[in-house]
Structures are given as structure tokens and as C-alpha cells.
């Protein structure tokens, strides 16, 4: 059963097609990752899902019905560019954002206080937002996103600009919400991260979906043709072998893509024959990053893993 179905979304900016016929399904209870480079069309797609942008074509189906304004009340949305009213008090801020979602009153206030306590911010309840540290402001932002108990949580590049503590905090929130059966959708350009958290993904490149479905299936499909190799010696002769599709040297390990999964034994045999010392030979492993590189290719000079250290 799909919670959300995105169908043929198209969005033009001026004459540029920012999102080009994007379709994917988000199953109930899943953590869904929308993966792509900066500028691939992730934010635009999410904004159309949130009805912030009106699509030039296509629609979003929520459990069988076209989404309307009421969808906004069911979503907790954390945009990439986010902020709070600086002069507003912490508790007032939380109550205001809940009220915009149609929730107000004692219960929500109690809940806000509970979250503040959980995040060690209870004593800052009456402080102005601007008096809080940046990290604490981010925590307030998280609470505002989930305070109204949304069925859907949509996070656009959620880990950008977070310190390690808040990164872990947000991870915990996401996993807790998943346990509660909520649907979590996030966009990211951090492949490692998506790989660890998502069970379903859609890869987007230049406005087009290049891969979607369950992560494990995608990995299985791509891994069969992929060999991860750790060796000593000279492997340059591999380039001339007919069953090799491509070779990617990542330094510590080399990814070799075969024309067909059945050639893995031939590859091993060839390596042994040429006296290459094989330290590790894994014929059934591929990272999301490698899948992405295979499908979209590397962009000039862009190293997708380079930003990973920031997120731990």
C-alpha cells in the first residue's frame, strides 16, 4: 500500500525544466529517500508535494485521493532553508506553528513542554529565540516540525548545517517516528546517509528520476554485476578483457563492473593467473554511491562522499 504517489510532476522555471516527469511511490511506514545532487530538482519536487509550488503538470495522490490543502496539516515539514522569528519566545513560537497546523490549546502546550524537557530546553521556554544558541534553535525547529504529531514528516536536506549532536538527535527522532508508523520522506545528496537510513529511494538527476524502488532490491540488482576488489599488483590488463564494463579505482578498493553477473568467476580466475594478490574479493556488494555514479556519472570534480565527514 502506498501512502503517497507522485505522478508525472513537471515544473518549469522560465524555460528551464527543473522537474521533468517525476513519478515515484512512497509506501506506508517507510523511510523514503529522494536522492540527487544539489540542483537536481529535489527541493522543487518536495515543494510541489507540499503544494508550495503548483506543478505545471502531474499530481500527488495521498492514499488514493488527490492532495489538497488539508494535507498540510498532516505534514511536518523541515525545509533546507529554515528559520524562526527571532524576537518571539520559545514556547510562543511552538504554539504558533502548531496553531498554523490547526492545533491549539492546553494539550498541545503540555506536549510542547514535554518536548522541551526531553531536549533539555525547559528552562529556556520563555527566552527569546534569538537568545538561544544556533544548535538550540535547531532543536526548537525540530520540535515545531513534529509537535502537531504529523502522519508525514518531510525533511529537505535535513542534515545540512547541523552539528553532530543535533544530527544524532534528528536521526533518533526519525527512527522513533518510523516506529510509530509515520511516513518519513527526506531528500539528501549524502549517499552514505541515505544508504543507512532509507528503505525506499528515488534517485533524481537533472530533473529526471533515474532509479526508484526499495533500496535492498536496487542494491541486489546492481551488486550482481559489481565486484569490490582489494589487491596488490598490476591490474591494468583488465581493461582489455571483453567481459569488463568499467573499472573505478577508489584508492583502498576498486570497483569493477562486469557486463554480466556470471563473469565474476572468470574475473577471479584471470586475477589469479596474472599473479595479482587478491586480498578481498566481494562479488555481491555495492554502495548507493556507486549505483549513483553508474547511473548518473561523476560530475566534473564533484566527489559525492566528500561531505560525509560532516555528518558522521
Amino acid at each position: 500500500m502506498n501512502a503517497l504517489e507522485v505522478k508525472n510532476l513537471v515544473k518549469y522555471f522560465d524555460k528551464v525544466k527543473a522537474v521533468d516527469d517525476v513519478s515515484f511511490d512512497v509506501p506506508e511506514g517507510s523511510i523514503f529517500g529522494l536522492i540527487g545532487r544539489n540542483g537536481a530538482g529535489k527541493t522543487t519536487t518536495i515543494r510541489m508535494m507540499m503544494n508550495i509550488y503548483t506543478p505545471d503538470n502531474g499530481e500527488v495522490i495521498l492514499r488514493g485521493d488527490k492532495v489538497d490543502g488539508s494535507f498540510k496539516n498532516k505534514v511536518g515539514y523541515l525545509p533546507e532553508e529554515r528559520g524562526l522569528y527571532k524576537k518571539m519566545k520559545v514556547l510562543d513560537t511552538l504554539m504558533f506553528f502548531a496553531e498554523l497546523k490547526g492545533k491549539s490549546g492546553r494539550d498541545i502546550e503540555k506536549k510542547a513542554k514535554k518536548y522541551l524537557e526531553q531536549f533539555d530546553l525547559k528552562d529556556r521556554m520563555l527566552s527569546k529565540v534569538e537568545d538561544l544558541s544556533k544548535g538550540n534553535q535547531q532543536k526548537i525547529q525540530f520540535i515545531a516540525t513534529i509537535l502537531h504529531d504529523p502522519e508525514f514528516i518531510i525533511l529537505d536536506e535535513p542534515f545540512s548545517g547541523l552539528d553532530p549532536i543535533n544530527t544524532n538527535l534528528l536521526k533518533e527522532i526519525i527512527l522513533e517516528k518510523k516506529k510509530e508508523g509515520k511516513v518519513i520522506i527526506f531528500s539528501t545528496h549524502l549517499m552514505d546517509f541515505a544508504e543507512k537510513m532509507c528503505d525506499h529511494i528515488a534517485m533524481i538527476d537533472k530533473g529526471k528520476i533515474i532509479l526508484d524502488g526499495s533500496l535492498s532490491q536496487a542494491k541486489k540488482k546492481f551488486a550482481q554485476k559489481n565486484v569490490s576488489l582489494n589487491y596488490e599488483g598490476d591490474i591494468s590488463f583488465l581493461n582489455s578483457l571483453p567481459f569488463i564494463e568499467s573499472i573505478n579505482d577508489f584508492g583502498n578498493n576498486t570497483q569493477i563492473q562486469l557486463k554480466d553477473a556470471s563473469y565474476s568467476q572468470d574475473l577471479l580466475k584471470a586475477l589469479v593467473e596474472k599473479n595479482v594478490t587478491v586480498k578481498q574479493f566481494n562479488a555481491n556488494d555495492i554502495s548507493l554511491h556507486e549505483i549513483f555514479v553508474q547511473l548518473a556519472g561523476k560530475l566534473e570534480g564533484e566527489v559525492l562522499t566528500a561531505e560525509v565527514p560532516n555528518v558522521q
Binding site: D56, R82, L84, K86, I154
Partner: protein, 422 residues
């Protein structure tokens, strides 16, 4: 939908009315306004502090003597620090004198002016005035009354008139204004409404500018601090804009009601008795009209300010987009001032019906001339029509503008936004 607009409105109101700035401006604007009038009066009165030295030269001894008698007994010498030298001199020797010593005295600031009263003045009242600043009206105005009196006396002295007749001839014309209206009685009109209409157009002007720029700042803040996208995940751009405009307009209305409350007190009770020349003739209906008109005006102008704010990313850039809106407020304000001075001013007459301008001009019109009820109502209707016509367009710009970042958009780009479907 309305709950969400209400939530935004509530936040805006809380943010504004509870702010120190609101309390300060509510108190300070009237103080400033009356302060400015006071300062002006003070500056006018300031001139009398210095000694004014003048020389009055006449052609005959008789005339010189009369002038000396008149001026030495006048307030000018007694109270205003005038030092006057009286001399008799023929026309020829005076023309030599003014080219030599007289000229030197004036240039050395020993004398502020030299007046020459020839005998011919008795028939044509023409007097020569030599000074570095011969257009100094405050000086000639002060002397006018006295010299005129002497000339008139001298002229009629030979004609055997009674003192009463002389007194009549000497006096100027005194206008007493009567306001002609549909009411049965024709009333002698005081200055009350004139003061009121000055004060009201000033308050209106200040308030529109103040509420407008506050709203613009708040739109820019939401954009700059990236709050806007969080907001848009909960409400539509239209709801956000509506809530913000209503919030600012309500704040403005509360402030104006506070400012007008003394007027309401003066009119509706007899606790305060005003001197008759300052009696206000304004009715409760007119005050309600003023507030309704003001509220609609706020919606119109605040809406424009919000739209301008949405286009730009910071306040400095927004200034450049603001001038057309400022012109829409400033020009009608000046028209209304001109209208107060001359209520038959045709530009004012037309302006009192033109949407946007009428917000500022019509209230002045109804306080100073008796206006049939349909006129302010028509102006209101036209403004409402403008509101409904402009808002869908402003909303479109707002919706696209608030999510837009990057460099300042050109006018052609903004026009393009209007053509987009949403």
C-alpha cells in the same frame, strides 16, 4: 482557512501592539505633531529679539512730526525693540543721501531699512523702502498699519470728517466666516475643523507610512530568516499575506482610534469646553467614516508595502522599489494640504475620488466642506473595487517573490511573474 489567517493575524497583533515601538509612536506622534507647530510658532516669534533699527525720512516737517508721534506710542517701539530715527529731507537731498551715507549704514548693518515718504504719498500711498532685504514682509507688514493711518488722517484732515468716519476709513476689512450647509441655521465657523483636518491628514499620512514600512520589514524578515518556507508548509501564501495585512491594518486602526479618542470626547461630552473659535463640528457618523476609510486605506497601502517587501531580499534593495508606493501617499498628502487652504481646488476635487488618493483627500474634504453623503461612500466603493482588483495581482507577486532568492529582480521579471499561472 480562517483559523490559519486568524493565527497569523493574532501573532502580528501581539508582536506589534505589545511592542515598545507601538506605545512610543502612539504617544510621540501627536507630541511631535503639536511640537512641530509649536516650533514653527517659536521660530516666527524669534525675529523680535534683535534690535530693529530703521530710519523713516519724510519730505515735510509736519509729516515727520506725525510719524514720530505715531510710532513712539506704538507697540513697535514700546515692546518690540524698534529703534527709529525720524528725519525730514527733500527728495533731491534724500537721493544723494541714499547713495552715500544711507547706503553705507545699510551695508554696515547699522540700519535694517530706510523708508522715504514723499509728499506724493498723500495721494498715491507709494512709499520707498531701501534695505538689503526689501522683500522682508514681516517688517513692511508691521509698518503698514501705522503709516497707512497717518496718510489716511492727513488725507481726510482737510475734508472735515467726523472721527467716526475717519475710524471707518482707517480700518481694514475683517472677514467673519459663515459655513453654509444643508442645516437650517447658518453658523459662524471657527478654526476647529481646520485644525482637525490638518491634524487628521498628518496622522493618516504618518500612520500609513509607519504601518506600511513595518509590514514591509516583517515580510523581508520572514524572507531573510527563511521562516517563510516553514510557514508555507502550513498555510498558503494567500492566507499568510491576508493575515499579515489584516494584522497591520488592525494595529493601525487601534492606534488611530486612540489618537481620535480625544476628539470623540470633545464632541460627545460637555466636560471640556472649547473656546468658540475652536468648536469642532464633526458628527459620530463622520468619525466612523474616518475610521472605516482609514482601515480600507491601510489594507490598500499595507498590501502594496507587503508586495514590495516580498520582491526584495533586504531592506536596502526594497527602498528602491518603494518609491512608487511612497508617491501614492505623499502626493495625495500634499494635495490634501492644498485642499485645506483652498477647498475649491479642482485637483483636490478630482483626487477625492481617485482610488488610493481619496483615502487621504476625502477625509479632509468632509471635515472642511459640507459634502453630500454619496461622495465619501462612492470613494469608499472605488477604493474597495481597487482592493479587489489589485489584490489577486499583488498576491501573485507575493507568492512568487517570497520564495525567490538571489539578485534583485528587474521590473520586466516581475511583470513576467504576473503572467505565470501561479
Amino acid at each position: 482557512m480562517f483559523n490559519k489567517i486568524a493565527a497569523v493575524l493574532k501573532r502580528e497583533l501581539k508582536e506589534r501592539v505589545m511592542a515598545k515601538a507601538f506605545i512610543f509612536s502612539t504617544l510621540l506622534v501627536p507630541v511631535l505633531m503639536f511640537g512641530m507647530i509649536g516650533i514653527q510658532a517659536f521660530l516666527y516669534s524669534f525675529e523680535g529679539d534683535d534690535k530693529t533699527a530703521i530710519e523713516i525720512v519724510s519730505e515735510t516737517d509736519n509729516m515727520t512730526q506725525r510719524i514720530e508721534e505715531e510710532f513712539q506710542n506704538s507697540n513697535l517701539v514700546k515692546e518690540e525693540n524698534f529703534a527709529i530715527i525720524y528725519r525730514t529731507q527733500s527728495k533731491e537731498s534724500f537721493s544723494d543721501y541714499i547713495k552715500s551715507e544711507g547706503k553705507a549704514d545699510i551695508l554696515d548693518d547699522k540700519l535694517n531699512g530706510i523708508f522715504y515718504i514723499p509728499n506724493t504719498a498723500l495721494s498715491d500711498k507709494k512709499i520707498e523702502f531701501y534695505s538689503k532685504t526689501p522683500k522682508n514682509f514681516s517688517l513692511t507688514e508691521k509698518l503698514n498699519k501705522h503709516i497707512n493711518k497717518i496718510l489716511v488722517d492727513e488725507y481726510f484732515a482737510s475734508k472735515e470728517l467726523s472721527d467716526e468716519e475717519l475710524k471707518f476709513a482707517r480700518s481694514g476689512v475683517d472677514f467673519t466666516g459663515y459655513k453654509v450647509s444643508l442645516d437650517e441655521e447658518i453658523e459662524e465657523e471657527g478654526f476647529g475643523n481646520l485644525v482637525l483636518s490638518y491634524a487628521f491628514s498628518f496622522l493618516l499620512y504618518i500612520s500609513l507610512l509607519m504601518m506600511g514600512s513595518l509590514t514591509m520589514q516583517s515580510v523581508i524578515e520572514e524572507k531573510q530568516n527563511r521562516i517563510v518556507e516553514v510557514l508555507l508548509s502550513s498555510i498558503s501564501a494567500k492566507e499568510l499575506m491576508t493575515g499579515k495585512i489584516l494584522g497591520a491594518a488592525t494595529t493601525g486602526l487601534i492606534q488611530m482610534a486612540i489618537w481620535l479618542s480625544p476628539v470623540v470626547l470633545l464632541v460627545s461630552t460637555t466636560i471640556f469646553v472649547l473656546p468658540p473659535e475652536f468648536v469642532l463640528s464633526i458628527t459620530a457618523t463622520q468619525i466612523i467614516y474616518l475610521l472605516v476609510n482609514f482601515f480600507i486605506g491601510l489594507l490598500l497601502f499595507v498590501g502594496l508595502f507587503a508586495t514590495v517587501g516580498s520582491i526584495y531580499e533586504n531592506a536596502q534593495d526594497a527602498q528602491s522599489g518603494l518609491w512608487p508606493v511612497m508617491m501614492l501617499i505623499i502626493i495625495p498628502f500634499f494635495i490634501s494640504l492644498a485642499f485645506i487652504r483652498n477647498p475649491t481646488n479642482p485637483i483636490g476635487e478630482i483626487g477625492s475620488f481617485v482610488p488610493f488618493a481619496s483615502v487621504i483627500i476625502m477625509p479632509v474634504k468632509i471635515t472642511i466642506i459640507d459634502t453630500p453623503l454619496w461622495e465619501p461612500i462612492l470613494a469608499l466603493v472605488l477604493n474597495l473595487a481597487a482592493l479587489f482588483l489589485i489584490f489577486p495581482l499583488a498576491g501573485k507577486i507575493y507568492r512568487i517573490g517570497i520564495l525567490r532568492t538571489g539578485k534583485k529582480p528587474k521590473l520586466s521579471e516581475i511583470v513576467k511573474w504576473l503572467k505565470l499561472s501561479s
